[in-house]
Subunit: 198 residues, 2 copies
DNA sequence: GCGTTATCGAGACCGACAGTTCCGACAAAT
DNA sequence: ATTTGTCGGAACTGTCGGTCTCGATAACGC
């Protein structure tokens, strides 16, 4: 609608203190542009700034790079992305979590975000580190599921859980980015079977 | 040593026909620059052209993008990269292949090449397609190993071999690019065990 | 109250780099 | 002998991440 900012009103100046509204406007704009399906690269800094009704300086004063903005927007958004189930059954928890993850990644908006972030991480070392931290939180979630399963005796006590987690997320990212194979619900089931040695 | 071309002599002009020496010089320069450890992004087109003693036009006349040049250089080079073992034992073949793959990826030159190509593929859709083709040849190699194993009865006949292959290569690329976990010889053994359900 | 100070939006500017276009030279094709 | 396509070299364009400057504004410290 409006060409500057998500709405037409002018933000009040906060003088010598950081403008929290501007911060939110930047993150909102970043996420909005990130989820807008495009086939080229991610949004440019100029476009984010313009969309947020903000000067580029205001972005670079608070974030170290474009990737940092995008990743913070993603992190805020994804906190409620994929819940971590705890039903008492490893196979059920695992399959639910994987199926949910695959389904989300299949949605165009989510896919665009993840793809753009991965590309940005490949370009900028600083963003790569932030991306590493983001994936770490997902690893932790999956790790918790399999650890509970092992504590219940559903997995051998000597099993390398990190390896198991990385087999799952490795397959996910590999297929998501390269697209050699599908990421559907059947894949989730089969992967669950394979990981639990059924 | 020399500032233009890998050696000092001037190439002979081939008139109206394509200069094969120039083509090789470009690919050689691309690979040489690709394997040179750098912490920033890949080599620029200008540098490749200068290193090969060639005009940029000569590059863009024969390749559609920088990534296409890099990927052709990589493909030529990697044909003899990781041999496909066939000892008659699935676990031995698998473990050998994975261990070899991991070891190669640990060498700085190889690591720089793979990392740069992955970044380039993330940036440019055309290069992404070529990268997909490259990884497909590696998938095929691993697929052949497990297919032979299944034919010998070392795997269940209903197993999804594509899934198995993608678990392996997924873990490889995930750890290679993100670095959450190691890619050492023990990892190869453990992964082999996991994939063959030992 | 009043000078100081930090942030704000806006825009000019810089440097890197992918990709294009032009040029004179050259030899094969015709 | 003329035409044609490539070659090396270089200037040029456009995009984009990131920096710098500027006037306006209001909180902060005295």
């Amino acid at each position: 609608m409006t060409t500057s900012g998500s709405d037409g009103h002018r933000r009040a100046h906060t003088g010598r203190r950081r403008n929290e509204e501007a911060r939110q406007a930047i993150l909102d704009a970043a996420l909005r542009l990130l989820t807008t399906a495009r086939h080229d690269g991610g949004p440019t800094v100029d476009v984010i700034a313009h969309e947020a009704g903000v000067g580029k300086q205001t972005i670079y004063r608070w974030w170290q790079s474009k990737g940092a903005v995008l990743l913070e927007a993603l992190t805020d958004w994804s906190d409620s992305l994929v819940p971590v189930p705890d039903t008492g059954s490893l196979r059920e928890d695992l399959c639910t979590y994987l199926a949910h993850t695959f389904r989300r990644a299949g949605e165009p908006a989510t896919a665009a975000v993840l793809r753009t972030l991965a590309a940005e991480a490949a370009r900028d070392p600083g963003t790569a580190e932030l991306f590493r931290q983001f994936t770490q939180t997902r690893r932790d979630a999956l790790h918790a599921i399999v650890r509970r399963g092992r504590e219940r005796g559903e997995l051998g006590p000597e099993l390398d859980l990190d390896l198991l987690v990385d087999q799952a997320y490795g397959l996910f990212w590999y297929r998501f980015l390269l697209g050699h194979g599908p990421l559907n619900q059947e894949t989730a089931v089969r992967l669950t079977d394979a990981l639990t040695c059924q």
